[in-house]
Subunit: 358 residues, 5 copies
């Protein structure tokens, strides 16, 4: 698992931003495709039209019908600005859409609601937890989503919009907005499941054969857990704010659904906190395994020393060259020494046995 | 003790749920008996009828009398849905009944109250803490309970319902609802007692003979404690909400009883936090025992080395082959060497004694 | 110090309680004397009568005069029930009086106030912190106290009631109630003092001669600290509730006194938290002492090895049996070797000196 | 630094207090000078009279003029009681003045305000942090201060009162009260500075030469930090209460000054928390230093063993007495052995060098 | 990284302040340039005049036009006092401007707002985190900034003020005030980025070659993190206060901008807490690396001892001088011994291999 995202990194192009007046738009992410993909779904209970307009066509769209405008790729600042201007989005929010280091939040304005949150994905290739910032503008009859790059988990929505008799088409756009949030939060469960598996895997490794890499894995795991936590915590406040909202664009009936997402969010938080705690104590299990290994090494050394040091002393005694050493002259002296040494070994074997060292 | 429940696991069949619109019912538990057992108690102060209807009979029941409908087994989605529809339960709650990963909560609607919580049981066979999700619908004159599998702790209620002059039959269904909650919370005390015994057992083991398995036991114990904690914490909020409730279906007199359960819940929380803390410090006691063991091993090694290394040097001296070594020629040289060596041993014995090593 | 109270233990007779309807009275404590001692003080500013009625006499007492009824021993359920019934105490509170695992709390009813808290005592014989649950019913003109066993710290109250001109007799019963609480909280200070002494004693032992028992003492000390903490924390809420109370039976003037107890309670909490923290860091001091001991052992081993291993090598060299070893033939070869060895010893002595090992 | 104050100690004479009715005055401090020093400053913008009255003169003083009455020494209970009675101070506060274990607090009564807090002083002789309890009664035109012993930091106030044109004389007594509090809080900064120096000193010692005393110093340091923390935390609440106060005796203009002290208090708290945290991690730095020392010792042992154990084996080989050992007969056998041994040493030197052990 | 700022240090000249009445101005910083640099920007949407007045000229300025007065160097007390007096700044705030140990705060007065906060800068030369206290007075048409020393990050504002058509010139002075705060908070991001790099660098070092200096680096890193934290935490309260403010001088439109800074502040706090946590666990990774090193050393010692101690015993046996030792007389005895010893070595090699030690 990667350690890259956890450290706050300004992109190469970001430093120029310090000191700029607010409203100077700078994109701070890493997906620099110059062209934004535009996608529009105009829908009513009866029908749904799907097309990919040019920017010009988009800006001239009639916005009185229910529609979902999705923009993939936000590095082209001019495109973002002109779309936002069309919908009257304050330039501070335009700046927030471009700056991918936003904390999840929701802001209510007179004729639109601005929300931003993160979609998490596990990049199997890079073995990395990838964050993508999703910004949503909810206005009277339009939902606009800004994504950093193509590819998302919303295909189910596209299918539903095209399908006959789907609830999605029958309801107002606030229900579409809810569905986008709901799917995003659902992706967190997938991440949690991966983390659970990984934690279980490390736990088994710790017990099997502790090596020095493990603590680094635990440390990196911690960073991933903290990254999820950092993104999900503010979502709780965000959802609470929407449930409490008295904005006319949020229907009372839709609030029940937001409450449902809030429940999921709290459940994710519970699990994240549990994982955090377990990861912490995994470290202790690991350190204990290391110290056990140490004990085992020391035991081997001690057993070997305890056996041979006295024996070596005895043979040393009879290696002395004194003229008068009666034992040396005895006929069975040599066998006597062996007898003594074997007795010592037997005694020690018995002693270690009783101490439970074997 | 098992480690399985603590990691968030989606059931095999669950992944298909991500992206599904809310209201698409998927059962996420592990008890897949296709048929739900239905059980109905219709009661009044005077009498109580008990029967096990078919689904069809159940759906045609007259619901104006006080009754308790208990459903064991929720994997048959159609059954659950039709029962819920009969009582007008919102499809978000239908989803919650089926999804066994709910956080305990209570939700008030106009003509019913939805509550969900966990019943804990210690499975002696699998040596595992088993969670069963209980969902309750409390409507004007009916209590419906949904359980994952047959077998529960509510037999006492069944007896009381059948018994003459029981308070249960005299009161409204909110009292029955209270009794279900009360019994569920009481099962937590049994779990706590088992945990207390287990903690005491580990504590004794730690002091007797520390081995490497112990830290894993402590770690698993922690997971069990955290599982209880995770389930009991939201119950406090749930009960507070019911005590504060102004719903007409909750009688003022019944609130005093909910307050009583709340007191129990807080008491359980206190004990859980205490256990958590004690479990934590058990780890320290254990690690200390390990490090003491280490010290003891090192002492043995040091004592043996300290005795024999100097002696081995001395005998080495007189193993040298110099032509002129006067001591070798002395008549009592050999005995002299023994005398010196015995003096050294006596001195060392005295020295170690004074240091308190024996 | 004992470890018994900290683990939640149901008494042998308690299991039967799970599933019983509320109001089924079961005594859960350990003091099973079948007869309750009854004691009544009827007092007015002018006089005080003291007598020990039978249960029957007590139940027929005229309760319009100020009086204190004290009951020692609550294992006789019938006695408790009939007394409570006489004063109209709700059966949930009757249950609480009998169940000695209550969290300290106060509950206000129309014509009485129910309070329960713990009195702590240091049992010198069993070396154990003993909890006794005190339940108090404060009604218009009566204070009823239920104690688990005879013997308490309220003798001073008995003396004051009998004494002429005591404030106690001049005031309403709420003042008597305050005095009971005040004395109970004062006993906590005695426990704290004992704990302070014990902590200081352990601290000194840790520095003197660390042995393996010490960590267990620290662990047990922690349990005692946690037990006090668990009992005193809810008392803060309880006192706050009484100060905020608008119950007509609590005089405004008496509230100032409750405020005084609250101050004491907070002071006790401060001290308990400080002790908890100190106890925690005592563990570190201890573990450090152990690791220092280890270092010292290793130093001895290293010094001895460093001195003798090279010397043993040298004498080994001249123990070789080569035909041609010129040194062996030198007249002063043997003395030369001694000279070399002594030089080495001197050099090592100097070296260790400079490293500060001696 | 001393460890005495942190443990809650009842003075020898205190035990008699448990069970006494409130209002029974017992002095709990250690400064037992039988006579209280009385000091009075009567001041107006035009003049200030300073004199040391007897108790009798004090009790007969006309209290309509602005004045500061300072009492040094509170062990004479009668003196304190009669002064308090003159100003109508409630007997619970009289008790608080005498009991030097009060938590800092402020209490508002109809015609006076009672405040108590601690003045801290570093006793260089005893190397001890000394607490002195200051109690203040602020009434319409009088400030009365009770100090445990002579000697304080308020000399600057005495000078100001005597000086012409000082703001102190022009303002009401609430300003004098503020000034007393302000100076007291300022003394905490001096203590903090001493602690900062001490922490820095320990930090340097830890890095230089870790010895066993250091952890005890860190532990004692912690106690001092906790003592300051314990005294300053309630002062924040106390000041907040005074700022929020609507008591007529606290002028709106003076509140701005209390706000200023509050800022200082929060700053002190910030620093204390920082010190606490740093002190904690100093322990880790220390324990690391100890474990490094251990590593170094083990390295020396290992290096020496690794060099000499193989060499000793080689010389042992040629110390064997077999009749047929060709090497022993070779002319250059002995030199060969030396060559082999020197090669081994060179190889090991190179090996250790590469491992970075030298 | 330096450890200097974290300990509360009174400047040499500060002690004289204890006991002084409030309003006695003492500068507590370290930048003692006797002359303050004065700089004035008078601006309107149409034009902007920039000049550097003398103190006398400044005091005679007409303050009805929008203007920014910047003062570099606050050690000349008289200058500060006379400027503050001109704008009616309360003398407690004058004191705060001079005392560079202020906690960031904002205070609203009738006709001006006083704010103080810290600007952080990484001093590459001294390798030190440098704090500079910025005090701002915002009055009807004037922003006055007090800086400790020349050089700041506000050059972008100076450029904007001089530029045609800049928003800055079109808006009221509260917008200028916002811009100053915004730029200051932006400098924190730069510090965070440096810290992130440093943490990553230490993390890599820990894994590569742990040496004793590393824990000191981690400890110093902690101090830096705590210093940022200490300065940014109160800024959150400060910004919240300004957003909630109903002061007429803060325009409703400007509040949206303060909200934006608040978002940044919370983001910084999130990152700081994450760094704090990571820094903490880096210590564990480090201590683990040290203990691994220890294990490795012990393994080497054990392997060497295990190989050579038995061999040395064997050669010792045949170094004995018994008259009758049959093996010594055998023709191939010597080779036999070598065969036995080589067998032992092979066996041990195999054994260690299987244990995974090589």
């Amino acid at each position: 698992m990667s350690t890259k995202k956890i450290y706050h990194k300004k992109d190469k192009r970001r430093p120029s931003k310090t000191g700029l007046p607010p409203g100077t738009h700078v994109y701070t992410g890493r997906n620099l495709s110059p062209i934004s993909e535009l996608e529009v779904y105009v829908y009513s209970p009866e029908a749904c039209t799907h097309f990919q307009p040019t920017l010009k066509e988009l800006l001239e769209l009639d916005t009185t019908k229910s529609m979902w405008i999705n923009i993939n790729g936000i590095s082209n600042i001019e495109t973002i600005r002109s779309i936002c201007d069309k919908f009257g989005v304050h330039y501070l929010y335009q700046e927030d859409i471009l700056n991918v280091f936003q904390r999840p939040k929701v802001e209510e304005e007179n004729n639109y609601i601005y929300a931003t949150f993160k979609s998490l994905e596990w990049n199997e290739t890079a073995n990395e937890l990838e964050e993508e910032q999703i910004s949503v503008i909810l206005s009277e009859s339009t939902v606009i989503t800004f994504q950093e790059k193509p590819g998302d988990s919303y295909d189910i929505l596209r299918d539903k919009l095209k399908a006959e008799n789907s609830i999605l088409r029958e309801r107002q756009v606030d229900y579409l907005f809810y569905r986008i949030l709901d799917i995003t939060v659902d992706t967190y469960f997938d991440i949690l499941e991966k983390m659970g598996d990984y934690l279980e895997k490390i736990e088994n490794e710790v017990l099997a054969l502790p090596d020095g890499e493990l603590l680094i894995k635990i440390q990196n795991n911690k960073k991933d857990i903290m990254q999820v936590r950092k993104n999900i915590y503010p979502m709780r406040d965000m959802l609470n704010k929407m449930i409490m909202s008295e904005h006319e664009m949020i229907d009372e009936k839709t609030k029940k659904y937001f409450k449902d997402i809030l429940d999921h969010t709290i459940q994710i938080l519970d699990t994240v906190e549990t994982y955090r705690d377990l990861n912490m104590s995994l470290k202790d299990v690991y350190l204990n395994a290391v110290s056990h290994e140490m004990n085992r090494i020391m035991k081997i050394l001690t057993i070997i020393s305890t056996f041979f040091i006295p024996l070596t002393f005895i043979v040393g005694v009879y290696g002395m060259n004194f003229d008068r050493m009666p034992e040396l002259r005895w006929e069975y002296g040599y066998y006597m020494v062996w007898a003594i040494m074997i007795s010592i070994v037997i005694f020690l074997l018995y002693w270690f046995k009783r101490k439970g060292w074997f």
